[in-house]
Symmetry: C2
Subunit: 295 residues, 2 copies
């Protein structure tokens, strides 16, 4: 299957799986449930779901096994977007080409939507056979929690707020991005990578090396897109990092060196995949997709 056909297929599977795990919009409290579906469905590239499926392929896990794990990671991602867009954070009005949740509904609903989506992610992992054993299922929950918490995504967001208006060294910027964006992307890859049959330590190390580079690559490309694209193309407010005086790879390195850095990261991400043969191809294609995506 060509990469674009495969990615479309996985995106559709993920959408169907998310439809099924989200509470129906007519269940009480209906406004909350409707807003949860609004926040999650019908948008997004589902990069994290693609990563779960691509790394799950390495363990011979079937797509049916991976759908719920992919849902859980996408639910965490969706919750973080809803909360990040709120007035006390980035105060953003547009997301995936639609009004953000607090604009379409209200702030209190947006707060509860994010809270309930996070809970649902852990419920889905606890209720679904996302790994071959109960111990593996617990490990998936642990990986997701560590990635989402104060040493991961939420911590990176706190560092982002603290950094606004301040200078940052390249090391500080990297640490912030590894947490804010990288941790969840890495978790997607590691959760997929333990879904099916066991992988040996060497393979696990290769996968983790790939995962760390991909997480950073994703954010550097995001910074480049934010600096260069217009709002209509991006589906979210463009140029907001500069407007908020936030340090980015573009503000730190300049556009040319930031672009060069993405090519370095892409090469570093692909390097450990070579010995994995045919089963590593999707991961390599995903690295290219993330590096060269236009939105």
């Amino acid at each position: 299957m060509k990469f674009t056909d495969w990615s479309t297929y996985i995106q559709q599977r993920t959408e169907t799986a998310l439809q099924a795990v989200l509470p129906a919009a007519d269940l009480v409290p209906d406004r909350l449930h409707e807003a949860m579906r609004y926040a999650v469905l019908g948008g997004g590239k589902r990069v994290r779901a693609l990563l779960v499926h691509a790394s799950g392929g390495l363990t011979h896990a079937r797509p049916e096994q991976l759908d719920r794990a992919a849902c859980a990671v996408e639910l965490i991602h969706a919750y973080s977007l809803v909360h990040d867009d709120m007035p006390c954070m980035d105060d953003d009005k547009l997301r995936r080409g639609k009004p953000t949740v607090h604009v379409e509904y209200d702030e209190a609903t947006a707060l509860l939507v994010g809270d309930a989506l996070q809970t649902l992610a852990f419920q889905v992992l606890a209720e679904s056979p996302v790994s071959a054993t109960a111990a593996g299922q617990l490990e998936a929950i642990r990986l997701l929690a560590v990635a989402a918490g104060s040493h991961g995504m939420a911590g990176g967001q706190a560092m982002d707020i603290a950094a606004t208006g301040h200078e940052m060294t390249r090391e500080e910027l990297e640490l912030m991005h590894l947490r804010k964006t990288g941790a969840l992307i890495r978790a997607a890859i590691l959760i997929g990578g333990q879904a099916g049959e066991g992988v040996n330590d060497e393979r696990r190390r290769r996968l983790d090396h790939y995962a760390k580079r991909i997480g950073l690559l994703y954010q550097v490309v995001d910074d480049i897109l934010d600096a260069g694209a217009d709002t209509a193309t991006l589906g979210k407010t463009a140029g907001k990092d500069a407007a908020h005086d936030k340090p980015t790879y573009v503000s730190l390195l300049g556009l040319t060196d930031a672009r060069r850095f993405t090519e370095e990261l892409l090469a570093e991400a692909r390097a450990p995949l070579a010995p994995l043969g045919e089963r590593g191809v999707r991961l390599a294609e995903l690295a290219d997709f993330i590096a060269h995506r236009a939105f």
Copy 2:
């Protein structure tokens, strides 16, 4: 051991366990970690932790086994208080006699504190032997997630917002409170009730009957206290339900009938405990404590 000695002992154990699971305040991002500790430590009656330990006693689980489960439930409770106090929700300035997190820090930090405390609760359950088997551990995670999510606590909060300024029937009020407060209290009891050796179906039914009554009892007493106490005694803003035009058991039934209702619920909660003998005594004492607490 007398009940007051036992409850002080468990409260101290819980405080020590929470100190240990919360990230150190000097770890990056330090402001977030400091605020997480501020939100959780040094306050609260730890009713949910007491319930975990009391029902865990039924399964012959040792206190050491129950500490982490108690932490997880208290972390979810603490996250919900931080978010509920935010300006877009109840806009409260005082909690446990101290400024609320968004007042002491700022709104963005309060949002992230709540988010990260919820994540930490699930991490703690995934990493700790809160049940004798991995399957039991997954069941604890599932119970907590169902209780906290859109069919539980977050859903009850959404119903609460929707109800402000509206009339509610007694059935609607009960449904709201069973979710908003009752679900997490019930989860505390059920998580404790499967921590040690297995309990048979009849015991489980008795425990669940108790759990449902206790959840409601807790909220009715809360309504009575909110209507009658002053802010200094309560440690949070008194009279705020009436001020916000929120339906409560006091506004619906009047004070006398609300008091009578607590005595009915107390008797109903205690009834299924009688055949459990000595091991049910702590649960019965806790029911009394919840019904007759002064703050």
